[in-house]
């Protein structure tokens, strides 16, 4: 049985026919060909799949596509300005070497933007705590934590290197 789902993705209304069991991540990747959202696990642990649903970070592997019906989703592809100007969190990841292979990165950036939005003035400890649900195997998190801090609380970024 297929179900029609209409939702707003990156500001544009999109429709797709999905199965009841189709996950939002699958809708985005397989149906809408927005492959920037990644899938890194089967158990809601890695956070590679984080997108914003009505402005809040969620794991798109953990909700059904139909649950997003009529709602607004922002993916990594929709975070920058239409003219290509990077979102401050994307810019911060670049500036602080928050990515290496790039696989965890879309989820990290979407999560980072959400952390910074919710926690202005965040401490390093809080940022590390907030990243509990996002795994990165490459960076040791240092550049990621710095990038998020640089948006949420620039004074908290340590200055012992570049």
């Amino acid at each position: 049985m297929t179900i029609d789902v209409t939702l707003k993705v990156n500001g544009v209304e999109r429709s797709a026919k999905v199965e009841a069991r189709t996950l939002l991540a699958e809708l985005l990747r397989d149906h809408l060909k927005l492959t920037g959202t990644h899938v890194g696990c089967d158990t809601t642990q890695c956070g590679c799949c984080v997108v914003h649903l009505d402005g809040k970070a969620i794991k798109s592997c953990t909700i059904l596509a139909v649950q997003a019906k009529g709602r607004s989703v922002t993916t990594i592809e929709g975070l920058a300005q239409p003219d290509g100007t990077l979102h401050p969190m994307q810019e911060a990841f670049r500036e602080h070497h928050g990515l290496q292979c790039g696989f965890c990165t879309p989820g990290m950036v979407m999560m980072g933007a959400d952390i910074a939005r919710r926690n202005p003035g965040a401490t390093e400890e809080l940022v590390r705590h907030e990243l509990e649900g996002n795994i990165c195997r490459c960076t040791g998190y240092q550049g990621i934590v710095e990038a998020i801090l640089s948006v949420a609380n620039p004074d908290a970024v340590r200055k012992d290197h570049h």
Binding site: L86, G102, C104, Q142
Partner: protein, 777 residues
């Protein structure tokens, strides 16, 4: 030019693409008309395969085909090869069982692929895979490294009568034993180097497509460079001409050694695509990735060291058991000898050395290279020994090391297994780390922690690495019509930022605008003839060195062309910052490249074009080294350990881009922290894998890490023209011994001198309880 040259912290040019969702990983690739694959995997760790019935599965809607090992065998598919050739001391050869892509008679570990099911969708393929009926006769299994050599242990390969692959030895055991006996102080350690899952964040994935008309097979997969895989797939496995097999990796979501291997799934998907004449895609999930990606480490070591009255080492004896899994992977069996053996016994002068290695089979997935590949294990042993020696000799941990370092005066210094250390300032590097970490004022911080009810400890590890293995690599520099310059690399960047660093080098050597340089890699159709890929921290030396050598050829040729056009003697042409100069005449390198395309503008004997391809070669590797100091706090009531300070000082020679090298250090440290604190692949006694998801397997998270202060003590390598030493694996090497050292220091009040990794709260808590009750008793 200075802004983008060698040593500048240039921001990465690959980032914008990856930050905006434009990366192209294998799962992002879908080919018109593709079918989907799913695998039937063994649920038994050891079982006879009595038969297979695919009839029910084949009847399910949407099922296209099912192939098992027998089908591959009938089609003449070859076996996965291993080229190791170790011998026992009596001259007899190691056991080398063949590995079929999918076994036909016996399955030897849980998760082994037994059949591939192709269907119209991924879901249908999975459902059909569940309907394939294998008839097994289950047999007892052995998964434990410690028990694999017990007489009554089940044999993975009964025909050998033992699980021991080989008993490889170096040195004279009786001489070393005599020296240990005579030594003033003798210390020993027994260590488990825990099995870990490399676990790149991108699960394994393969897309294969075959065009019968030109007999062309194209395979997309995450790799660390495709040429070696192409060779294996073409020559050994599918028996096709090399140029009819193409391997493409656009973006790869982490490698760590484990993505450089040929896996049965790749062969099966490629075979199916060829057989069906239809694109086939397989997207591994995380459970499959845990079960079938090769694992890392898994050694048990017994080591003894003898020291004289001054605390100087006189002899070292090291006995290693290595769990290689059920088969011989490409490199797994080599790791203690060719991986760790390169640099053992670490940064210390050891006059006499005996080394025994017994790789052994178990009913588990193979082990193979994982970040550091034998060197983290080797350094862990020497560093635990040095801590034990410090205790026994009543010297501080830094002093015992200082007394035993190989000094700069002793270099070039030949190691026991035939490698030569060219450079390194081990004492200076250690001192930098101690200073940056405020080692001398630690007592104050311990006191302050005590007041909060915490046990604080500080740990030190000094280590050496071997980088740049197989130092042969092709690199091509090509001048494009539009003025861009392409670097066509045999190496393959999968997170290391080669596009940035190679652009810096082209900018430095040829004066080409940083922004006009681009990197082409990851496709065997256009990679240089010699193309090994990226592993073993080799790309700075072989890739960077290759660009340097190609640039020299380009400049020499450019001088001839510029001289001809400027009517000057080529000898009189100077080249600087991208400009050829002869007297008042100048030509930019772009102009020379443009002119070089026109034979009429060339002097006699000069061929058109300014492009150059070189095969970089070096006789030797390089030896990065460093010192890590870690501070930890332990809550004695819960056993929870928190890292509270981390200093990493690295000598990775000349630093091409400190921003990127620091990233390698942080990432490596995190993997070392993971091994030390949270990661442990566990099989139960029946060989069932207990840690097959991120719920059961402890990946290090942001909160397990502390801010790492990374510093350099630059001692350029003398053995390569850039002076580089590979930086990729140092972090994973230094972290485990430094952290264990710090924990033991924290637990000094309880007299606990060692706990095996991972240092979970439970283990720490139990050790504290045992010590407390021991005291009470």
């Amino acid at each position: 030019m200075g802004q983008f040259g060698i040593g500048q912290p240039v921001r990465r040019k690959e980032d914008v693409r990856l930050l905006t969702g434009q990366g192209q990983y294998t799962d992002d690739i879908n080919i018109e008309g593709q079918a989907w694959a799913a695998f039937v995997r063994s649920s038994h760790a050891n079982a006879k395969i009595l038969g297979v019935d695919t009839s029910a599965a084949l009847e399910l809607p949407g099922v296209v085909a099912i192939f098992s090992g027998k089908d591959l065998e009938a089609a003449g598919v070859g076996v996965l090869i291993n080229e190791a050739a170790y011998k026992n001391r009596d001259g007899s050869s190691m056991h080398k069982p063949p590995r079929q892509v999918m076994p036909t008679a016996q399955t030897r570990f849980v998760g082994e692929v037994l059949a591939i099911v192709i269907a119209e969708s991924a879901e249908l393929a999975r459902e059909a895979a569940e309907a394939v009926e294998f008839d097994f006769e289950s047999q007892p299994a052995i998964a434990s490294t410690a028990r694999a050599l017990d007489a009554d242990a089940p044999k993975v390969w009964p025909e050998f009568g033992t699980n021991q692959v080989v008993h490889w030895e170096y040195g004279d055991e009786s001489s070393v034993e005599a020296k240990l006996k005579a030594a003033h102080t003798r210390v020993k350690v027994d260590l488990v180097n825990n099995r870990v899952a490399p676990s790149p964040m991108e699960p394994r994935c393969v897309v294969a497509t075959y065009k019968a008309a030109d007999n062309m097979l194209t395979v997309y997969s995450p790799t660390q460079g495709g040429r070696r895989l192409q060779t294996m797939l073409a020559k050994n496995l599918l028996k096709m001409p090399m140029d009819k097999v193409r391997i493409i990796s656009h973006d790869t979501g982490g490698g760590f050694g484990v993505r450089s291997k040929m896996y049965p799934e790749t062969v099966a998907v490629a075979f199916a695509a060829k057989q069906l004449g239809r694109p086939v895609k397989w997207r591994g999930d995380r459970v499959e990735t845990f079960m079938s990606d090769y694992h890392g480490r898994d050694q048990i070591n017994h080591a003894e060291m003898g020291l004289d009255a001054e605390g100087r080492i006189v002899a070292l004896k090291l006995e290693t058991l290595l769990n290689v899994g059920a088969y011989l992977s490409e490199n797994g069996v080599r790791l203690p000898m060719e991986g760790g053996g390169r640099i053992i016994p670490g940064v210390y002068h050891v006059p006499d050395f005996y080394f025994s290695v017994r790789p052994l089979f178990t009913n588990t997935v193979c082990t193979d290279t994982y970040r550091g590949a034998g060197r983290p294990e080797a350094n862990y042993i020497t560093e635990r020994l040095m801590d034990a020696a410090a205790d026994a000799c009543k010297l501080s941990r830094e002093e015992i090391r200082r007394r035993n370092f190989v000094t700069q005066e002793q270099m070039p210094y030949a190691t026991h297994l035939g490698f030569v250390l060219d450079s390194g300032d081990f004492a200076g590097t250690m001192d930098m780390a101690l200073k940056a970490a405020h080692w001398d004022t630690f007592a104050e911080r311990r006191k302050e922690a005590e007041a909060r009810g915490k046990l604080r400890g500080i740990g030190l590890a000094v280590f050496i690495e071997g980088a740049g293995s197989r130092p042969v690599e092709g690199m091509r520099v090509r001048f494009e019509e539009n003025g861009d310059v392409s670097v066509i690399a045999g190496t393959y960047s999968h997170g290391q930022g080669h596009a940035t660093v190679y652009s810096q080098l082209v900018n430095e050597f040829l004066g080409v605008d940083y922004d006009r340089v681009k990197l082409i890699n990851g496709d065997t159709a256009n990679s240089p003839a010699m193309s090994n890929g990226s592993f073993g921290s080799r790309s700075s030396m072989v890739g960077g060195g290759g660009i340097n050598r190609a640039s020299k050829l380009i400049i020499a040729k450019g001088k001839k062309i510029a001289g001809h056009l400027l009517q000057a003697d080529p000898e009189a042409v100077a080249f600087e910052a991208g400009v050829f100069k002869a007297g008042a005449g100048t030509m930019t390198i772009g102009e020379v490249a443009q002119a070089s395309r026109d034979p009429k503008k060339l002097p006699d004997g000069v061929t058109p074009g300014l492009d150059e391809e070189v095969t970089y070669e070096n006789d030797v590797e390089n030896f990065p080294n460093g010192a890590h100091v870690v501070e930890v706090e332990v809550d004695p009531e819960t056993g929870v350990l928190q890292i509270v300070g981390y200093v990493a000082v690295d000598d990775c020679g000349t630093v091409l881009n400190p921003f990127i090298v620091h990233g390698q250090v942080y990432g490596g440290v995190a993997q070392g922290v993971g091994q030390a604190l949270t990661e442990d692949v566990l099989y139960d006694d029946d060989g069932q894998l207990l840690t097959a998801s991120y719920m059961d397997y402890g990946m290090p998270r942001a909160k397990n890490m502390a801010h790492v202060e990374a510093l350099f003590n630059v001692v350029p390598a003398k053995t390569n023209e850039l002076g580089v030493k590979g930086a990729g694996e140092a972090g994973a090497t230094g972290a485990p011994p430094a952290i264990v050292s710090a924990l033991c220091d924290a637990l000094t009040p309880y007299g606990i001198r060692h706990i095996d990794m991972p240092l979970t709260p439970e283990k720490i808590w139990r050790a504290i309880q045992a010590a407390r009750t021991g005291k009470a008793a």
